[in-house]
Amino acid sequence: MSAVVHDHDHPHGYGHDHAHDDHHGPRKGLMRWVTTTNHKDIGTLYLWFSFAMFSIGGLMAVGIRLELFSPGLQYMDPDFFNQLTTMHGLIMVFGAIMPVFVGFANWQIPMMIGAPDMAFARLNNWSFWLLPFAATLLVLSFFMPGGAPGVGWTLYAPLTVQMGIGMDLTIFAVHILGMSSILGSINIITTILNMRAPGMTLMKMPLFVWTWLITAYLLVAAMPVLAGAVTMTLTDRHFGTTFFNAAGGGDPVLYQHIFWFFGHPEVYIIALPGFGVISQVIPAFSRKPLFGYASMVYATSAIAIISFIVWAHHMYTVGMPVTGQLFFMYATMIIAVPTGVKVFNWVATMWKGSLTFETPMLFACGFLFMFTLGGFTGLVLAIVPIDIQMHDTYYVVAHFHYVMVAGALFAAFAGVYFWLPKWTGRMYNETLGKWHFWLTLIFFNMIFFVQHFLGMAGMPRRIPDYPLMFETWNKISSIGAFGMGLAQLLFLYVVVQTIRKGEPAPQRPWEGADSLEWTHLPTPVPYHTFETQPVVK
């Protein structure tokens, strides 16, 4: 029962041949960030941008929970409440969760595959700098006549056709966000396929790189479909087309089909990079190689492919034929198989490993428990007769927050704590990191676990008021939301404190981590890395 000692395939050559790497560093001042083409700078920009969006979206969530603290209308009119739920969803999905993983991709992919930078460095800069404009459009929509769109983040017709000018800003924001994602994805695919170090075969790539390769393909295939859907909404609004207008022969249900054809792959666009991060963190803290590497790759690919044929499980109640419902029900359940493969592989990686529970590992374990719980409620919702009961209730809200927050967000936290020492050369405060984890975990469950009960009791989502009988659970949920919001201030403090005056990190902060950035590069990583590509044996 001795601990497995992992033997590295890679030569240990810290800093060899890297003396020349530091000959030109970054520019000084603000223009460094505007004009940068360095993948690490752009990664940092993505990460800070997504934190800013996470804060704005989080404030909106706190607003929503404030209104729901008590029955009746307290602080806002229902229109504004709807605008908050819509913008919270859009900002968190497109502004926080997607960019945070693009940030990780920028920092990590070139270092993990031994490339000097991304394939298209200047395009990379542009992909990022599209985002602040899109975010500005989204936030500006609040100040338009009629306010921001209050249609839900899914932007369903026919409401979208009837909204004020804020809707147009949102449509353009979605266009710009989509463009940014597609350009970023093309860049990532090209980098991974064409710029790997000699000897770094596809099946030797760290799993984080694999999940991003597959995610990038999903983005290239799915984002343009969303762009098409909102373009149709735009022309319905202003140019007399009737794609979704029943009077002109269109059909609002058509919008739902097109949206969810994008929307379901989008769910995995959000989840897969998180799976990748977890697949790096768990082996590192188990001091064992990842169990079932090849099956992980195949499972990820299977999830991606099946994700294109399950979209209508979001719309069981539109009146589709029972054959259609059955097809989408079984297809959805099949996705649980490759997802289960991944979960079992992570658990098997930990099995008999010499485990330690530093903050990244805590978040990874939190991910494993909570994401699996969210996966199970997803299976419950996949069952047609149950879903018809649960449709648009808080059960659905609880389900997707378990996979998005406890899944994607926890994975992002795990990644930040995992790589922060490598990026900054400084160690974060372990005690505060653990506090951040436990507070987040407890408050997260306080918010969302009780929402399962509310949903099963029939409380509908997206409504600012509720009957008295729902008050207790809503109060608990709201208190959890305030707590979770405050806990993220602690995260900001931990990160800033690490960057400013953290203890110098050791050369290999995690001895179990063995991808190229840990074994071949000094800590902190220099501004330019792998200008001479390493040879992977």
């Binding site: 490339a115 064409n194 343009p224 007399g240 009077a247 022969g249 089909h257 097109i258 009146g319």
Partner: protein, 175 residues
């Protein structure tokens, strides 16, 4: 990892992205074809007339409702409720008045409660099959000729039929 290979790969991926943008639009005719092939959602098509036995043992209440969505039209059924036997040919009339001093074109879209009763409410003639253009101030009476399919499930005794008139954009009479 030459720049040329990178450019060629990115070009091919760009074509895929553009293709998927087009695919979103291709879903529109595809959706309509699927619906037509499966007979789903064919609200603008007359039911095929078949000789059916009138089932006098059951009486179905048809409740009629009307809405004019954002249209300056007065639109209401002449009677709000009738009783029919399944298989029996029945006619109801709706009255519509254009209160605007301009010609307006609208299209009525039916909906049913309960939802699944829609497929048993077979319209042989309906003003909802075509767009209606009303001159300023015009009043029009329009019929719905229908048969309730005797295969209507036994637990349905009442069907609510609701028509909503939507303005067809770009056909004159803009507000």
């Amino acid at each position: 990892m030459s720049a040329k290979e990178n450019r060629s790969l990115s070009f091919r991926l760009g074509v895929v992205a553009l293709g998927m943008f087009g695919f979103a639009f291709a879903l529109v005719p595809f959706y309509n074809q699927i619906c037509a092939a499966l007979g789903i959602n064919q609200i603008e098509r007359a039911a095929e007339t078949v000789n059916t036995q009138v089932d006098t043992s059951r009486t179905i209440t048809i409740e009629l409702d009307s809405n004019a969505h954002n249209l300056p039209w007065r639109f209401k059924p002449v009677v709000s409720e009738i009783k029919v036997h399944p298989g029996e040919l029945a006619v109801v009339e709706y009255e519509i008045v254009n209160a605007r001093d301009a010609a307006v074109t609208g299209q009525a879209v039916p909906s049913y409660g309960p939802q699944h009763a829609g497929q048993y409410f077979q319209k042989i003639e309906c003003f909802c099959f075509t767009q209606q253009t009303l001159a300023p101030g015009e009043t029009r009476r329009m019929p719905v000729l229908f048969v309730v399919d005797p295969k209507l499930p036994k637990d349905v005794n009442t069907i609510a039929v609701s028509y909503t008139f939507f303005e067809v954009p770009g056909r004159g009479g803009k507000t």
